[in-house]
């Protein structure tokens, strides 16, 4: 079959793809390669001008960060908060997403817009005065403060993602199951769950990642006792810029989250596919 693109356009596209690859390499590939190199600089052989490459590479910096810094505790804190937030946000979002995705009612558009309010506010303002609210309410647990803040702040994402999943459930399947005398639970299991499952998992993963990555609330509510991975990274980037440590923590923050996000993207694509094809 002949290509739908003329020859000149094919060549132009090839050149532009090459240009995009070069830009990607310079903007992302190279900086990450530099971060990997910096994280492997041996502490007793510093990498300094005029050396183009580190004189000695080792994992000593990684071992040092793991054993002597607060990273282990920060990881535990981050993952505990994120798990709590992901589960709470999904549980709170489910009924609302059902209403948005399956029901028609007066004021629906306004309600949908209102759920997006937190995203239209500068995050540091929200975090700053959220601290004041917590103090006024007498909530002094840093874990609880951060978990509540993250849950409320990331609810719009969970609601939006689950609304799409709910709206993908086919009404004819629900009607058919009901006509055959299926109970509510059976209707849910056979008509709703197969379509909802990928979106539910994707929403869980996305809220989980957003919570792990969130900095403003974690920093302002948690400082100085309750550290998370982003707050540890910020401490390495501040006045005492410890580059090899910052490089290692950056990689710890980015790599697992990118992998999780790719899984979430795949799940979301399958939600779209199953909704479109009526699978399940």
């Amino acid at each position: 079959m002949a290509s739908p693109f003329p020859r000149a356009e094919r060549w132009r596209n090839r050149l532009l793809i090459l240009l995009a690859l070069v830009v990607f390499f310079l903007a992302l590939g190279l900086p990450f390669a530099m971060a990997v190199l910096w994280s492997l600089v041996d502490p007793s052989h510093p990498w300094a001008y005029p050396n183009v490459l580190p004189p000695v590479l080792s994992f000593r910096r990684w071992v040092e960060i793991w054993t002597t810094s607060g990273l282990q505790q920060a990881l535990v804190n981050s993952y505990m908060v994120a798990t709590t937030v992901a589960v709470s946000a999904i549980l709170l979002a489910l009924p609302t997403a059902y209403a948005f995705g399956r029901l028609e009612f007066r004021g629906k558009a306004v309600a949908q817009m209102l759920t997006l309010l937190p995203l239209a506010m500068p995050l540091f303002v929200l975090a700053m005065f959220y601290v004041a609210v917590l103090s006024r309410l007498g909530i002094y647990s840093r874990f609880l403060g951060i978990a509540i803040g993250h849950t409320f702040y990331f609810l719009p994402y969970a609601i939006r993602l689950l609304t799409v999943s709910f709206s993908g459930v086919r009404q004819d399947l629900i009607d058919a199951a009901r006509d055959l005398g299926a109970s509510r639970l059976t209707v849910f299991r056979h008509a709703y769950l197969p379509v909802l499952k990928p979106g539910l998992l994707a929403a869980l993963i996305i809220v989980f990642i957003l919570s792990i990555e969130e900095f403003a609330i974690s920093y302002l509510v948690g400082a100085p006792d309750f550290t998370t991975v982003p707050t540890i990274l910020f401490s390495y980037l501040g006045y005492n810029f410890i580059r090899p440590s910052a490089a290692a923590v950056s990689l710890i923050l980015v790599v697992p989250n990118v992998l999780l996000m790719l899984i979430a993207e795949r799940l979301l694509k399958s939600t779209g596919a199953s909704a479109g094809s009526g699978k399940g």
Binding site: L30, L92, P95, K108, P118, M121, G149, F152
Partner: protein, 287 residues
């Protein structure tokens, strides 16, 4: 039965919507009330506009205000200007377009702090850029580029992080522009730029405005890029707000609240102004 059916959707909204509304009301209410209260040296709190007088009379505040407005505007405009041609290029799928689209979106997955670190690491004294400049003979010795006084680094970071977001928002509406319409314009003798001005821009105006608003709010309220890569002689509004609270003891919260209210105002009115300006421009160039 009928009343129950009518009420059900609203009852279902409560678990998701109520926490959001409560949080926003409490936070905005707290910022507003703190901005009009003043704590004297003996700890007595009274209603007063002293915090407003103090903040609005400070040069540092106005520098931070216009600085954040500038970063927000530049970040939003440059991101959109770069995203448009890419969205137009990838409008119709071709071999390799999926790969390019994924690569463009990749920075969205990178945490802001990590992005700031990668940038600082790249331009620092021992960074790749300096090594390359010295190695290629363009500079005799490494140049100091970190925390540059013109905030070029902050704008680069804003664009690096937000251009993919702009692309994501624009690509949907750009793809939705019908080929028939573009072909009809071409048949009528309208050139590439003319089709962009008269067909694509007016039809994608809403997405363009959405992208500008979202990016402007994020960039004007930025703290992390500024703290890591920004100029050291000026604060962003978010940085100034935090500094006011930390540095001013009993009056800290009131002063910081005024900055917060002004930052919310900047985000709201700045975003509306930018969106309105673009609407006028698109209408004018589309004539």
């Amino acid at each position: 039965m009928n009343a129950r059916r009518t009420l059900t959707p609203y009852l279902l909204l409560i678990p998701g919507l109520a926490p959001i509304l409560v949080l926003m009301t409490l936070v905005i209410g707290m910022a507003l009330t703190r901005s009009v209260t003043w704590t004297d040296v003996s700890g007595n709190v009274s209603l007063s506009l002293e915090a407003w007088r103090t903040i609005l009379g400070q040069d540092q505040f106005w520098r931070a205000f216009f600085y954040s407005a500038r970063i927000g505007t530049l970040g939003a405009l440059i991101s959109v200007v770069l995203a448009y041609p890419v969205a137009l290029w990838l409008r119709r799928p071709f071999p390799g377009s999926g790969l390019v689209s994924s690569l463009i979106k990749a920075p969205i997955l990178v945490h802001g702090l990590v992005a700031a670190f990668l940038y600082v690491n790249f331009v620092s004294f021992q960074g790749f850029l300096n090594v390359a400049l010295v190695g290629l003979g363009f500079a005799a010795r490494p140049i100091r580029m970190q925390n540059d006084p013109y905030a070029i680094g902050v704008v680069i970071l804003q664009v690096w992080k937000n251009m993919p977001l702009a692309y994501l928002i624009l690509s949907g509406s750009v793809s939705a522009v019908s080929d028939d319409l573009l072909n009809a314009a071409r048949d009528l003798g309208v050139g590439t730029l003319g089709r962009l001005r008269r067909v694509v821009l007016p039809l994608t105006l809403r997405s363009l405005q959405a992208a500008l608003i979202l990016i402007f709010i994020g960039a004007a309220g930025d703290y992390t890029f500024q703290a890591v890569a920004g100029p050291t002689n000026i604060n962003s509004m978010a940085q100034f707000m935090v500094r006011m609270e930390v540095d001013n003891g009993l009056q800290g919260w009131s002063l910081s609240a005024v900055v917060a209210v002004m930052l919310m105002g900047l985000s709201l009115f700045g975003a509306i102004a930018l969106a309105g300006l673009v609407q006028v421009l698109v209408k004018r160039v589309g004539r």
